[in-house]
Amino acid sequence: MSKMLMKGNEAIAEAAIRAGCKLFFGYPITPQTELSEYMAKQMPKRGGLCLQAESEIAAINMVLGATASGARAITSSSSPGISLKSEGISYIAGSDLPCVIVNVQRGGPGLGGIQPAQSDYNQATKAPGHGDLHLIVLAPASVQEMASLTGLAFDLADQYRMPAMILADGALGQMMEPVDFEERTARELPEKTWACCGHGNKREHNIINSLYIQPNVLEDIVKERFKRYEEVEKNEVMYEEYMCDDADTVIVAYGITARIAKSAVKEARARGVKAGLFRCITLYPFPAKELERLSHKVKRFISVEMNMGQMVNDVKVATDCRVPVTHYGRTGGVIPTVKEITEEILRLSAKKEG
């Protein structure tokens, strides 16, 4: 039996172990906890370590230390816990260290709620910590992708020496689907010559650091980092188009919302409206060029998100507002239904242009 029936949270954990990650540092929080539980059960059996830290802040700093040695390390949390980790995330980015951070989003702000949300889009893609920095942000939309994108996240993080985030949500974390772990092919990766793993008097010692006293030195380092970000933006964009070829109305969505929107697109088509779905798989790098190309042939974009309107701004920028870009969302842990999204497509399609 090659396929297993798993929760999204479990699939991430299993995929991380299979990607050679032997170090998990975390602190439990709903709706992410099965990930920590899976690690706690599996890591000791498979030669790894699962450590429940005293806080989210401790956990992310343990990741910094572990990854500085060249090992693959992962931490996971849900929205409020990610805010706590933001200092460590910035330090990891500033130290040019790879790692994987999982955010199984729930409603916010504050303690918010425990039901699914996508209201950390801006945090993940714009300001995951202080300073000029990016995370690679991957947005799975199925339990299979929770697994395959986790493997990819480790490879991308190592390749570009930067943290990668899996931006999921409570629904994806909790729902169960079949998953096949045999699918992934790992990338060829550069040797970690920068790792602090003991020089044995055979080479210069390596230093992992994010403090630079001289402004011009720091500027050069940040600029070098942004050169790498350019490479990421050039090479690593991932998206999926569904029925966009002849579409008038294109929904832009990611994660669980894209799954729901896909059904809404089918429903709208059944009612004679030419709808399509553009699903972002990478949120950073954002598929801006691809949306720009699409903006020349469609009549409108609807950004469907479980928040008050965050990704919609990136769609507007990407498409230069060539056609109307509107937002449809639910928030606070409420998941939009197929019916709601279908009605929004039909409502906007029925509107007279201009």
């Binding site: 039996m1 297993m4 029936l5 425990i114 629904a171 909790q174 689907e177 729901i260 896909k262």
Partner: protein, 217 residues
Amino acid sequence: MITELFKHKAVIICGHFGTGKTNIAVNLALAAADRFANVCIADLDTVNPYFRTADNAEELRRRGVNVLLPQFANTNVDIPSLPPSFPLIFTTDCCSVTDVGGDEEGAAVLRGFAERYESIGYDMYYVFNAFRPENANTDYSLYSLRAIEAASGLKFSGIINNSNLGAETDRSVVFAAQKKAEEFAKESGVPLVMTTAFEKNAFPGCTVIEDVTKKLF
């Protein structure tokens, strides 16, 4: 008929989380409501606030089942708590289905009620899904079954083979799991009392159930 599970007035549904316990419990309660006068379903899942009996409360009530839920189920204060009216299953003449949380952690809640279950007569069933990681081999399954018995202070009277791969379940999936379920039953000494299938995969000897899991898309 799934109602064959009722040999005493109380049925308890346990197992590794994600094996389909709630789906079985809800199917059983709905079928029981068609046959018996007074049917209760109690949501005793103190482990996980997602995908639980409360998702089906409306349909269950509509069909005459008395639904006993924790007070704040499916809200943002879904704290691990027991339904206040839960003891009704011991004090009235109802037939009851108790839907328990996953694994031994979920089953621990039964411990305080073990004597009361014994006094009214119960059958506790282990829901088995060969495609779940903790049921993937017989040793894991045996551990899980014994751990639940130890935590609950109650004994299993049967195994329900509910093996499935979600939306990708077809007949070959159901058949592939049958041998594993039989082996697990043999090793555990607990009889395999039922194998479930959805209508489209039905085969002679199976019990047909409906998919009552909340649909998001």
